[in-house]
């Protein structure tokens, strides 16, 4: 949910609207914001599943330190969505464990 009015920060400044795609589903976003913010605004909280127990995980630190928010962004796995800014047409995918890593066999 957007904080449109704020007692200290005032009204939300204007920003260009862009669209990103979360597992194929279009999500509205504000140009200049991190991917994680756009997803959170859309009510999406599970960004990836863990490698061992396949449990859902969302953001923890939001400053690019903890790597809990990693997703596959435009095909690039392990992208920190809390510090990566949205771009119109961006494809953001849920990352399952480290499955996004390609082995030599995959490439062959």
């Amino acid at each position: 949910m957007r904080v449109s009015e704020h007692p200290i920060l005032g009204a939300l400044p204007e920003a260009e609207s862009v669209t990103i795609y979360f597992d194929g589903q279009p999500i509205p976003a504000r140009a200049g914001e991190p991917i994680a913010a756009a997803l959170m605004n859309a009510g999406i909280r599970a960004f990836r599943t863990t490698a061992k127990r396949h449990e859902p995980r969302g953001i923890f630190c939001a400053i690019g330190r903890c790597t809990d928010c990693m997703m596959i962004v435009d095909g690039v796995p392990n992208t920190r969505t809390c510090v990566t800014l949205v771009r119109d047409g961006m494809q953001v995918e849920t990352q399952h464990g480290l499955a996004a890593m390609r082995t030599e066999e995959d490439k062959a």
Partner: protein
């Protein structure tokens, strides 16, 4: 690979780094500030409350406004700021490996000031990995910078100033704080911050902890319980709160990776968040020419970080001969007086003692070296 030379490189454009850059550039140094983020200011722009401290030094002004003024001063001082720029390594001679604008640089500076700040601690309990469990600082970033509510009903764990202030700011952004839970028998932060929460109807439950969080794929219920003197939950005291978000405000730890890599000697000071680099009264570490400032030297708060940055900037400029002994001594005395005021009183005692311990460790280290030498 391109090579850049400068008088002083500052790593981190937060409270400490910007202050250091301003002081050094004002003294005439060629200064390059490097930060990984796309916006400068570190955590300062997330602080929307009016700062405490002395009114002679901006107390009563909101953090983001202090940040804005500091940023303008830095821009006028002539310091260069490289954003979206990663420092991935530091050599023993203090040259930096840097990725800027997609290109690889080696930055050679006569003096390097590391002001990399701190990151939030995590606390494990059943369900602590569920989406919706996050650092209090993360929630603060979401509401105050990204203007997105991380949830509607929040349980905060930890009653230090971070827990108290972020709870208040979540309510200002429109969320409800169901309860603030603190394992210690007393509230850790300032009572006036706690008072704001209480007047808004938020219970502050000292002597309690979170025992588990449950929900279908995300936070839905938070079980809390009273704890005994050893901080173990007391069976039978459990209660369940309905909430969609859990914020952890259980301390921070310094981001010391680069300082370790540079070969600085460390000491262990729990009150400062763990291992912290030894430094002298000039903020210089055991590696000559490498200075530290702000939370990387031990977790305190933004005002102290700015003053340590000022100190490091002045001392580095002085070491380069850009300030006379007298000028440097005057500036240092002023800054140290302000630091002393910030570490005064009951609340400052722990930090004051910790800082002294850190300086003493450095002195012992240097004394030891002299002896051997």
């Amino acid at each position: 690979m391109r090579e850049i030379t400068t008088d002083i490189a500052v790593i981190g454009a937060g409270s400490a780094g910007l202050s250091a850059a301003y002081q050094a550039a004002s003294a005439g140094a060629d200064v390059l500030v490097i930060d990984e983020n796309h916006l400068p200011g570190g955590q300062l722009f997330k602080q929307i409350h009016k700062f405490f401290g002395s009114r002679a030094h901006q107390a009563g002004t909101r953090g983001f406004q202090i940040g804005q003024e500091l940023l303008e001063r830095v821009q006028k001082s002539g310091a260069r700021v490289w954003l979206d720029t990663l420092v991935y390594g530091i050599e023993r001679d203090c040259s930096l490996g840097v990725i800027h604008d997609g290109a690889h640089y080696v930055v050679r500076a006569k003096k390097v000031i590391v002001a990399t700040g701190a990151k939030e601690n995590y606390m494990a309990f059943p369900g602590s990995t569920l989406p919706g469990v996050m650092g209090a600082g993360a929630a603060q970033t979401m509401v105050n910078v990204n203007r997105v509510l991380p949830g509607k009903r929040v349980v905060m764990l930890g009653s230090g100033n971070v827990g108290l202030i972020v709870s208040y700011q979540l309510m200002q952004a429109g969320a409800d704080v169901v309860a603030l839970v603190e394992a210690a028998p007393e509230i850790g932060g300032y009572a006036v911050h706690a008072g704001k929460l209480r007047r808004a109807g938020v219970p502050i439950l000292v002597g309690h902890t979170i025992t588990r969080v449950t929900g279908d794929g995300q936070v839905e219920r938070v079980e809390i319980a009273q704890v005994d003197k050893q901080f173990n939950p007391i069976p039978g005291t459990e209660r369940v709160l309905e909430a969609d978000t859990v914020c952890l405000a259980v301390g921070l730890n310094p981001m010391t990776e680069l300082v370790w890599m540079a070969g600085c000697k460390f000491c262990f000071i729990p009150a400062f968040g763990g291992h912290v680099p030894m430094h002298d009264g000039n903020m210089e570490t055991t590696v000559p020419g490498l200075y530290v400032a702000g939370d990387v030297t031990g977790v305190e708060e933004a005002s102290s970080a700015m003053e340590e940055g000022n100190l490091a900037g002045v001392c580095a400029a002085h070491a380069l001969g850009l300030l006379t002994d007298e000028q440097a001594a005057d500036k240092k005395a002023e800054i140290n007086a302000r630091l002393d005021a910030l570490r005064a009183g009951l609340f400052g005692e722990r930090r004051r003692t910790a800082k002294q311990q850190q300086l003493d460790a450095m002195q012992a280290e240097q004394g030891g070296n002299d002896h051997v030498g």
